[in-house]
Symmetry: C2
Subunit: 255 residues, 2 copies
């Protein structure tokens, strides 16, 4: 069993309206990779969001009284706090500079995944751009997959990832925020272990494991390699979605 | 940038006192892999613990009153609860069948990482064996690394991993529980992004990302492939330790 992850060089800076599928197909060619059945393309949230035009000019955001109060309490730009609140279902915790939220997409993350870095320097001098997460990352992944499958004539998966902090541990790791054509969660219940006993660990966060693996080769600064080709994903491809990976609130001991 | 993870077939079932370094070197040969500078060997906790004889016979554990009370409250074997408490610094949460603890090794995990599965069937019919985590996984990794480096004559990393559940998300993922010769956390502070601005995401949980990647190719049932060879880890090897990955309690919003 071998899993090979290759960062795709040669993807240009993405602008709103760009054709990501086309860019990835060209990069695959440049990297001498021909798609095969079972391959998964892992794509950084940033280029998906940019392609979808999810840039917002802070100068045009009018913060609500709630955002102004929270911004003052945690020493953060009130316009950014306003966007974070708009992108979130609820606030879980706050500390100076950081708001941990349940994102409208259902997962828990810091500052609603809104990113200043890597869009600084874009836009006009009058603009202060920030980048929101894609509107519906599962749908973005599905659309990208259809394009790639049509071009390659084989069965693929597409995974959109972002870097998330975690409870209890230091450092960000790559995590799934949208997917199509691969399992989010793999259920091993009922499969015997080596001794024929039932497995006790029953569910594997397979898409998150692949997200972490791909994040490792993408690096952090490198918008230069915002997509990764993965060959050897060990579980059968099937329809999948992000919701598989989200723990129901009533089962979550750490809200 | 390519990261290649190969599950090592041919490692026999490990028994207390077995020479893991020897077993891994033999498996590398069988898998036609010659170690190179910068390679990382990722090893499942289970075989490290077994090699170190961390098996405990539940029949010989006498539960304390505290363990008996907790066991009754969450419907779990009081002797197992006793072991979990002994292996832990404190209990964070409980729910039926599960105790989330701060392990004596410093990380948060379910049931102190004590495993029933994959040791069932071992021991005599009178024994009910469970497996504790290694006594000092950083040290175990260090010892293994010294042996492998001496045999291969090159600079390596060794990472010991386990499958952990997570707050907020479903499914277990591979996480580092001990390491030697590679960074736990990679600090990108001060490195410019594409536009020359400071990076805002500063620290990457690199060893955890590699742990997740390796866990994917190890699978869950498969004690048959409890070690993974990783080539292409993208960060410079250096001395490292698990503690880098542990969030200081006073900075943790989710205790």
């Amino acid at each position: 069993m071998t899993l090979t992850l290759t960062a795709l060089h040669g993807i240009p800076l993405v602008k709103p309206g760009d054709d990501l599928a086309e860019m990835i197909l060209r990069a695959l060619q440049q990297n001498n990779l021909a798609l095969q059945d079972g391959d998964v393309l892992v794509v950084a949230q940033k280029i998906v969001s940019k392609g979808e035009g999810r840039l917002v000019n802070l100068a045009q955001v009018k913060p609500s009284p709630r955002a102004i109060a929270l911004a003052s309490a945690i020493d953060k730009d009130a316009r950014l706090v306003e966007l974070i609140l708009r992108e979130s279902r609820c606030v879980l915790r706050t500390r100076p500079g950081t708001i941990i939220v349940e994102h409208r997409l259902g997962f828990v993350c810091a500052n609603a995944g809104i990113d200043h870095s890597n869009v600084a320097g874009e836009g006009t001098p009058q603009e202060e751009l920030v980048l929101l997460l894609p509107e519906d990352p599962d749908r973005s992944a599905e659309e990208l997959r259809q394009r790639l499958e049509a071009a390659a004539g084989c069965r693929l998966g597409v995974l959109i990832i972002d870097s998330h902090g975690r409870a209890w541990r230091m450092g960000t790791v790559g995590m799934a925020i949208g997917l199509s054509g691969l399992p989010g969660l793999v259920d091993l219940r009922g499969q015997p272990d080596l001794f024929g006993y039932q497995l006790r660990i029953t569910q594997v966060g397979a898409a998150d494991e692949l997200a972490a693996a791909a994040s490792l080769v993408m690096g952090q600064a490198a918008e230069a390699t915002p997509a990764v080709h993965a060959r050897g994903f060990p579980y059968a491809l099937r329809e999948g979605c992000l919701a598989e990976l989200l723990r129901p609130k009533e089962q979550d001991l750490f809200r």
